[in-house]
Amino acid sequence: MDTLLDFAQTFAIQLQKPTLAFLLGGMAVAAFGSKLSIPDSVYRFIVFMLLMRIGLEGGMEIREADFRAILLPAIFAVVIGCAIVLIGRFSLASLSAVNKTDGIATAGLFGAVSASTLAAGLVVLEENEIFFEAWVPALYPFMDIPALVVAIVLAHMSEQKTNGKNTERPKAWPILVDSLRGSALSALILGMILGLITRPEQVFEEFYDPTFKGLLSILMLIMGIEAWGRLSELAKVAHWFAIYALAAPIIHGLLGFGFGYLAHLATGFSPGGVILLAIIAASNSDISGPPTLRAGIPKANPSAYIGSSTAIGTPVAIAVCIPLFITLADIIFA
């Protein structure tokens, strides 16, 4: 009961914070039928700015990091990414009302990671002055890429079985390279490398850092507008997608939290790191995942997986999961 109250309170506080407020504001504005929109080029630039900022900071702080401490969370990230897709494969995708290929693609997207949710999580942790290891955002690709690879391979296997035909099996390597070449991961990794091997401290402090929260507020507005706009898409596919999209971020986040807790016990992974790992697990890819899945699982209907992710998954991950895991950490690490 207390927990629930705690969560309600954290949630109420978060609601007042710009991150969540702009997300809901975007949804409200779109629901009202407003023509307000942020130009596409501005959106893409904002995503670049946020990921470059996250990458630079990660890179600069990783210099002093103990690489052994990173190892376990990184392995866990891979495991979580794969596990989420397998869970989806044997829950959502095995329902008779759900097209199997669509279900697997959706599970792949929910296993993958959202840059905007990650950025929102970072800001909320900072606002709550919760410490976390600066390299935690670097876990992103470790969960993201395996999830996409597993989803594409599973979809292929399932189609094989249905068609009987023996087409070439998809290889992990090209999918991995393709993922790394996506604009989101490229920006993040470039930022990390620049942070690690050069001295971008000044430009970070004068430019990338001070604009972070402001740009995030605009990104949240965009995500809110987009979420509302995609709801109609989702209405065209089976209800199960909506139900999955509601529950999955919470379940995946708890899975992430559990693994994070193990790492806490084993190697002293910080509570903030545990929360962040849970947020990464709860998130579902909105930028880089969809094109990779579209190319890798062409028979899957994008309305199903993009609708599930953008219209419901991401708002739930940001609005429900972030405050939820902070509350949970409060209780567990109290």
Binding site: S37, I38, P39, D40, V42, Y43, R44, I222, M223, I225, E226, G229, E233, D286, I287, P290, P291, R294, A295, P298, K299, N301, P302, S303, I306, T310
Partner: protein
């Protein structure tokens, strides 16, 4: 002096751009022109300039002029067969006239 030639227009997901261009060039086209667009078909609505979150899904419109009609027809059929079972897209041919036939 004008010459009757064929124009092939392909409307497809941006995702296919590289492959389509390779096919067009392989068929012998000496050039092509691309414009960005948005649209709706069987699959789903593709927003235009609004922040789209998923750019790779937006629509491109490629047109290529080919001097030889038979080549254009073969290319249109090939593209339809290879891509448009799984991916969104359409192809059509238009009769046009050009001044410099040797340019195409």
């Amino acid at each position: 002096m004008f010459h009757a030639v064929s124009k092939i227009t392909i409307i497809a997901e941006r995702l296919l751009q590289k492959k389509l261009i390779a096919q067009i060039e392989e068929a012998g086209a000496k050039g092509y022109t691309i414009v960005d667009g948005s649209g709706k078909g069987e699959h789903f609505v593709r927003p235009g300039d609004r922040a789209t979150v998923i750019k790779a899904f937006s629509i491109i419109r490629i047109e290529a002029i080919l001097a030889d009609e038979a080549t254009a027809r073969a290319l249109a059929e090939e593209i339809t067969k290879i891509h448009f079972k799984d991916y969104s897209g359409i192809v059509y041919l238009s009769p046009i006239e050009v001044v410099r036939k040797d340019k195409f």
